[in-house]
Symmetry: C2
Subunit: 360 residues, 2 copies
Amino acid sequence: MALSLAAPGGGSLTAPPEHEAPLRSLVRSVLGSEEASSFQELLPTLAQDVADVEEHLRASLRASYPFLAEAATYATDSGGKRVRPLLMAAAYRALGAPDTRLIQPLAAAFQLIHTATLVHDDVIDRADLRRGKPSVPRAFGITAAIVAGDYLFVRAFQLAARYSPEIILRCGEACAELAQGEMMQENSRYDLTFGRDRYVRIMVMKTASIVSAGVASCGMVAGAPREVVEGLEEYGKAVGVAFQIQDDLLDVYGDPDITGKPLFSDWREGLPTLLSLDAHAALDGRERTEFERLFLIRRKRPADLMRLKELTDRTDAHARSVQEADHLVRRALEALAPLPNGPYKSLLEQIANGVVTRRF
Amino acid sequence: MALSLAAPGGGSLTAPPEHEAPLRSLVRSVLGSEEASSFQELLPTLAQDVADVEEHLRASLRASYPFLAEAATYATDSGGKRVRPLLMAAAYRALGAPDTRLIQPLAAAFQLIHTATLVHDDVIDRADLRRGKPSVPRAFGITAAIVAGDYLFVRAFQLAARYSPEIILRCGEACAELAQGEMMQENSRYDLTFGRDRYVRIMVMKTASIVSAGVASCGMVAGAPREVVEGLEEYGKAVGVAFQIQDDLLDVYGDPDITGKPLFSDWREGLPTLLSLDAHAALDGRERTEFERLFLIRRKRPADLMRLKELTDRTDAHARSVQEADHLVRRALEALAPLPNGPYKSLLEQIANGVVTRRF
């Protein structure tokens, strides 16, 4: 309720304290609590930024037909940790902008696109849960989920309509990449011969493109020079892929009480990850055959999943994934070089570091 | 193949003759063959217009990931009779434009949106066939159909990105109405108490809004005065609803050899139409109870469907639907009053008349 009272475009000083708590815990969990304390003074400002984006998002969903707005709003409520709006606000402020008024509708658009794809993903994967709550298809039915996803896309593009054609096209291209990544991932199911490079391409398309387009667009709105926009683009891409690698690791090594997700969903759904591809490549003889056989089982029993983990742990696959993610973080940090130094740039750096150390 | 040779924005005089045949048959079937002959000299021009729109559409779908482009292109190939691009080209030319170069990407965008909703409709309705060919979900699977539909929406908005925010917003609003109409229709299934007015609102939202936005946008691109844009908007809305009423009538009274669709699909899917609502309202006593009982059966046998038709034919429901459609055609013709007289305005008038006399 408090969110609807916050005026869009409001100044940072008026941030009601109740916005800070969730953002503080988000920033703390991304950065680690020690690092978070050094960004304490940025929090009220960023909390207001994210709250303002939220208000644009909600305003755009109010529809004359309540059922559709209800499903769409429900979807955005379970649409994640708001890392994207936070990254966009931080990137835009890192370029010296005194407020985020000009990028708020754009950040809302990117968040809506992200949400739309989650809703359609849940239809495709027949997922019952999303962040511990019934998924949209589960709560409202398949039809409502498909249509509400379309509606979220449409509202996103309406929010983007006020920007330059260049920005709208970039936003659209990221969506197209996302769709292509989705198809590639679908075709990769139960396929261990898929190849590491192709899997990295899936991560770029499915996760990183939209993050990359989001932060790069902020550079464009700020009128930043080309090397800054390209730096942000590269930063978003590297952080996005690193985020996905960490997600894949948490699916096997995470604590469900912290992540809020059951373990081993990638294995259950037959999705190859870097971890699986590397484990499979490193194993040989009977163990490799066993890994393949278990991976291909359509309805895996708990014992199958535990054995897949055991086999994985006999290889250096975990270390290789961590190494790959660390490499991406270094690339993300290098990509920020053209940006002016300052507290928001430091925050972007810490977020990149935090992405691979997070446990949620 | 010939389509890809046609240069986008090419002049009307270069139209290869092979484009004319399908358009001539389209125009003939919409107008009736006698009326069509009086528009003979417009055909090569309009054939080229529609071919140019087609080329924009196809160019926008070429993706680096072939499977996605394949499903999307397959969808556009079975995406209908191209009535929308024809209406937009005719509307734009009726305002005095010497060529349709400026509205071709917009017409392609509207055609892509139409196609995207058909693909998602086929997922929702589990339809096996679309225009006599396997539907996209049938031919490529549910996942590909959902993702390809999203991709078609995205490409549509990218095509629309070059227009003014006002036009992009109108295009988006029509999509949002479409989504709302879809949800309302879904909620109306197996419900005869749904009400005539609400059903008309579904038709406006689901079918007419997008036609209306398409032709009105042409007026906006042409820089036409407000009353002309509003006239086109009203024309599109009236023609769209009349088109839907005729579609509903053909579902019961059409010739499947001509329409290419099996009869009685609305009854099979439990969708109330004007015809059903009026028949139900006009019947009484045991016949009304019987109509209700049959309408509510989830898997109707052929005998059930024939009996529904028999009961319908005992009422004036058919005549009332025809009357309603005729009334809408008159409204469409009146709405064209602010447009300058000329052959393309006459064509728009004839199309409005043809919509309710068509048998396909």
